[in-house]
Symmetry: D2
Subunit: 344 residues, 4 copies
């Protein structure tokens, strides 16, 4: 199979390159980036030296990209929709890692991203690639929108509790902590080592665009309208997200049902591990793997269910889930090319 990655200069695109270079089913891989065109991949990502002998190429015309079996878009928000317009919806399989096709409702897209969507007069045909919770729709799909890193961690924790009959109330608070790779390669002072290190920085405490994605996709996946108050914090580590989620059990519901719901949703899943009630995951347990680990505990005094969800933002939160989606779309073994062990 021939694969292309457009936007392979950033951290997610580079992680995707790393994973696909070792994937049994991808016999040919090409990587594109206008900013790094002509340079060798491993000059910029020497951790892959000797393993990935690829050179960045200038992003080609849509017609050229039609020649691949699968095209991954790891471009900034706004760029993917133009590329998709150029490639056409009837060409190769497309897996978009940006936010451009995460909304079925383009009015919401405009509200959260502040710009009109190029496709606003057409139906969004992309399937939301939260693999474990949307697998049937992904099988055989050709157009997939890969979820955001925070939404992956939070929706994997919440959706099983809301699907069918909700067992939690709809006012949800999530306090999330992310490593600095989540900010990408942006050359801004706030991401310099000296600013991030020995610090914790809450940011965008209202109107982070992932909020819209989470509320919207929760509705799409469960039929439930939640109201999410979300606060991300930048913490001084390279990789990993820990989302701490606060909600209340619905009347007459009990923490045993939480276990039952998770067990039903994830009992057989290779990449989602739910701990016993009272056991709490941490970030080191997942970094380097495509896993999401979830723990929970019921604070009976305060009537609050606390859920902790951790993943590697560059793997399950981005490139890893994109590969997992590719595996499902093409009928490959779902774990192919994906690390299951954290580095520790």
């Amino acid at each position: 199979m021939r694969g292309a990655i457009v936007g392979a200069s950033g951290y997610s695109g580079a992680e995707l390159t790393r994973l696909l270079a070792g994937h049994q089913k991808v016999s040919e891989l090409e990587i594109f980036s206008n900013s790094l065109a002509g340079e060798m991949f491993d000059e910029h990502y020497p951790n892959m030296a000797g393993e990935v002998g690829l050179r960045y190429q200038k992003v080609p015309e849509g017609i050229t990209l039609r020649g691949y079996d699968v095209v991954f878009l790891a471009t900034p928000a706004g760029a993917a929709m133009s590329l998709v317009r150029d490639i056409g919806l009837d060409g190769p399989s497309i897996i978009d890692l940006s936010a451009d096709f995460r909304y079925l409702d383009y009015g919401l897209y405009k509200f959260w991203y502040g710009k009109d969507h190029l496709f606003q007069n057409e139906e969004n045909k992309f399937i939301y690639g939260l693999t474990e919770l949307n697998r049937e729709a992904l099988r055989g799909a050709r157009l997939v929108s890969n979820p955001g890193c925070y939404p992956t961690s939070i929706l994997l924790a919440l959706v099983p509790l809301l699907r069918d009959e909700a067992i939690i109330e709809k006012e949800v608070i999530s306090d999330a902590k992310s490593g600095v790779s989540g900010a990408g390669r942006k050359l801004q002072e706030e991401y310099l080592f000296y600013r991030c290190n020995e610090n914790i920085v809450p940011y965008r405490p209202i109107r982070h665009s992932h909020i819209g994605e989470m509320e919207h996709q929760t509705y799409n996946l469960t039929g439930q309208d939640i109201r999410l108050s979300f606060t991300p914090h930048l913490v001084p580590l390279n990789r990993g997200i820990l989302s701490t989620i606060y909600c209340r059990l619905s009347k007459d519901k009990d923490v045993a049902e939480v276990e039952e719901r998770y067990s039903r949703s994830y009992g057989e899943e290779p990449f989602v591990q739910v701990l016993q009630s009272g056991r709490i995951p941490n970030i080191r347990d997942v970094v380097g793997s495509n896993n999401c680990r979830i723990g929970y505990i019921y604070d009976e005094r305060a009537g609050i269910l606390k859920i902790f969800s951790s993943l590697d933002n560059l793997l399950k939160g981005a490139a890893g889930q994109a590969v997992q989606n590719m595996n499902v779309m093409f009928g490959f073994p779902e774990t192919e090319g994906l690390p299951r062990q954290a580095l520790g």
Copy 2:
């Protein structure tokens, strides 16, 4: 003035030693620790080399401790009450940095600490040393109980909104993040560098003993019964706490009143800075100083008031506030001996 520090081997006790060694009004200082007796302070804390020529002494009898003007207790929970028993309540001024005298109600003490209080048949005469919010009671006091690090950060943020008439509802969630010095010098695997680094570890997600202190002292300081759901997280940095607090405004209240309340409480305070609505503090802004910085923003969509409170856990969260309390108790200038600039 003659000062003594009992339990000067731990990080809070050492920080107190550092501060008092440079304090204009403390002409004599002695430090006590059974585990380090006979050793030089600056062997263990070489950052003070040349500045503090003190040697640890074995903890003396209560009668000996009566000879000081002020005795600081930086001992583990449970040890302070025995020492206070030995010293007697009619001796020197005592500032206890442990939790032993933070409860007026010893039944609560037992609930949260799991043991009977030695003084359970007597009234607790210690004044709760949350300086800015209890200053009048501290003036001239001889027995002071210094607040916990998390409670200082959270109560400074909450109490002004609850005093007189509450402008927030009583269900409060706090997600707190602390640097590893908060764990003290405990030789446990979970505090080894390799375990903490590149990690975030939620711990004691229910029943952390600071919850009781916060609910109890909120009641004492405001007459309001709040219900607090508190979750601390260990983050890979040396010093600093950032507490993120989630609550709801009371009916008919509005975020402008938050500003008004904070301004009234802290407008003249040297060590508490409240930012304009929408500005968010971070940890680097306060580490190395005795300051607490508070920011807030109202998430109108979700109806949640988010408050961010940051301080240096060893300074305003422990030793700094202890010295500030001493200054108030003895009528010294309140900022004497206390750093006002963060290191940056």
Copy 3:
């Protein structure tokens, strides 16, 4: 093949467990640790949760250990020789990760480790497992002594320049920097997060026991007697060693010969990468892989050849090289079970 790991509680033993659990040729694996006997491996190393369903067992009698095809000893210095005595030299293949069999001359062992060797009246039959430089001797060997982490990084850099005719002079200085996992799980205050973080700590600036290993094995591998001045520094990161090496070219030798020597030694090696003259490796390029990356530059003004050698101390510096040695000993593909990509 049946494998056993004795001393699987420490970081090297756990890394070995992680690698062997995924190794195609090791169908059965058992792990032993007296301190953790009865506990599940993934309770202590949750990064492997779901991947390694092993329980620690009490370290068995030598006779029992004879029942395995290969026994790895990841025990502290001094313990391995007793275990080897009990197992016998005619039993299973043994790969010792400790220092116990790194000296052919037990007098040197005593000098550097301060104790008599149990086997001092017998010849040391263990082959020194610096794979790339001793491969022929390792093929088919049954007793292998795995090199130390610092020696691996330094000898891989030095030996090619000394073998056959030396092209460098014999006075060598190495200033090495290691992540804190190198210290193992020792519960000592100096390895607490608060002590290591934001710090650099030179330690054992004379008489570090790896010096003896390096001088002795350089002699064994090259016939040259070097004089090494070695200074390790603890740096605040989890994994990785960077050894900076200072030496002088022999008279009439020239930096082009350095390239030629390295190319001859490592041109075909999967795990050793030598960069072009003037390119400098760093730690992130290798952590998570079994690679060693070497760079060099000639400081003509000062007449000093600077060599930089980096590896992951738990992989190429310990468990990874042990598995690589097993692969060579048993004739398996040398890269089997070993990560070639760094995490980045």
Copy 4:
């Protein structure tokens, strides 16, 4: 006294602002930066919020700068000489933190910085401000060139061993490790958190411009021509330099003379502490203070004297020493306004 800081936007300039804002003798302070003109200092350095109510101003004409008693130049290499030209040598006292006046020989300046010096036809009248070793020349001086961060740490260690009769040989190797604040606020990918963290990066292993400064000033201060091979490494911490220095004792000299030399040079110094032979300083001991701590040990086996010198690169390595120089120049108490305790 009226002070001005030109180039107060960078980390050294900001540190200088922090120190001078609290200095008893500087009654008026103004700060200049073209890039931040019009903005408040504490927006960019909120650690000083409430303490420094200054606004950045556009850099004024030289004639305006003549109106101050002391002008600090914290501008990039090359900018200071133009400013000095504009201000004139007969105006206010000038303390230049850049490299522009660190060479008496402008040919050397050109060699190391690659450009002609504006003043090449005039004698360099700036005094080299390595305070402890050049104090007499600094008293009453009006033009002072502040040393680089690495040179301060290394020259304080070396000069006492070379002055009068050298007790060490002239071939010296220094392997230095610096926190990331040493790179300043440069927006380059290599200084992003994700690139620095969990990494050690050797850089400019030949021809770092501080080499020239060190050899040249060693000659000026001691009459000895040393040959220095210097290799800096970027390490993941905010502040601090540890320089490890390798040299050989001169024939017939002995390590006791090292102690004697240091004791004679620094016995009475407030900011330089020399530890007993065998005791090794680390970075945490000095960060936050204006101190330099030096330790040494003689490696008899290899015949190498190892010296370890640590300081806070923004304090003793830059802004702190600048203030110390001002104190000496103006006859103020030398420790005024300078922190003597490390934060720990």
